[in-house]
Symmetry: C2
Subunit: 186 residues, 2 copies
């Protein structure tokens, strides 16, 4: 883990952009946010934006991924086992994330957002799985992670239809079969 420290200017600029993006997305639809808007709000040069992001969609992905990752509090349990408790926490984080998004305008980006969530989940699951099972076959591990992320994301979509239910209570019954799936793969 010898990650070379990133330049503080980069950290500053990135969070200026991300914050402005979150800010703006509270005011208008994602699709109506222009790079010009964004850089004006963040008080950074437009060329600087392109130094950090390919385009506005790239920013969308990275910003949402980061917010989700914070919600997931990944660092807090990156080394814990992928058991029922962990899954409940992850699921709750995903539902929280979707709730926070529902306050914002993102019409037309539902699929993108779904993909981002599944991607993040997949990364986390695969890390946790390989952490608790270092000699497991890499490919089957990836597949398990992918399946898990689909199941958890799908459950969160289900959950959104039953407003008011506690996420933990909602997901717990479904977990035994999911955890069985993990065990089978191992």
């Amino acid at each position: 883990m010898t990650q070379t420290k990133t330049d503080p200017r980069v950290i500053r600029t990135r969070s200026l952009i991300m914050d402005s993006f979150i800010q703006l997305s509270g005011k208008k639809d994602f699709k109506d946010i222009t790079v010009k808007d964004l850089t004006a709000e963040a008080m950074i040069n437009r060329a600087t934006f392109y130094y950090h992001f390919e385009d506005i969609y790239d920013l969308l992905e990275k910003a949402l991924s980061e917010v989700l990752l914070v919600n997931l509090d990944y660092e807090h349990f990156r080394d814990s086992r992928l058991d029922e408790e962990a899954l409940v926490r992850i699921f709750t984080a995903v539902t929280n994330f979707q709730l926070s998004l529902s306050n914002r305008c993102h019409s037309g980006y539902e699929d993108t957002i779904a993909r981002i969530i599944r991607n993040q989940l997949e990364v986390i699951f695969s890390k946790m799985l390989s952490g608790q099972d270092p000699e497991a076959d890499d490919q089957s591990l990836q597949i398990t992670a992918a399946m898990l992320s689909w199941e958890i994301y799908g459950a969160s979509v289900e959950w959104r239809r039953n407003s008011g239910v506690d996420p933990g209570d909602f997901i717990r019954p479904a977990l035994s079969s999911v955890l069985n799936g993990i065990r089978v793969v191992r």
Copy 2:
């Protein structure tokens, strides 16, 4: 008034430093604030500090001057006459400024602060005076401004001993003679 726009990086960095200074001065004595403290708090490089300020005393002056100038709301009445109303507002601003300072630790810097206040007042007075009297003699105008700043500052020190009195009520009785002084010079 063709002021060349200042680089946004400069604005950002300066306010990072100033804000951190205000922040830190709420926690410890001015004299205990080191440049290292400051740059750590502001998350900027120490060399960058010296790019903008000679040393920590230079920062003290500039930071306090700026805060005072904001309190004075100079832009708001730069073109108005230097009459009783203006003087009351300026005096009130000075007392507000001193009140805000009294919540902070600045032992040993009383003289410096006094000088800063008088300097700022002098600049403002001289601008207002020359604005309302373009053909006035420059030197006597400077002298008037200097005298005024001493009187107003002195009154604010007086006022601090009589806690609770409204600044306006406090200064108004003294203003007739002050305004007379201005008239005599003209």
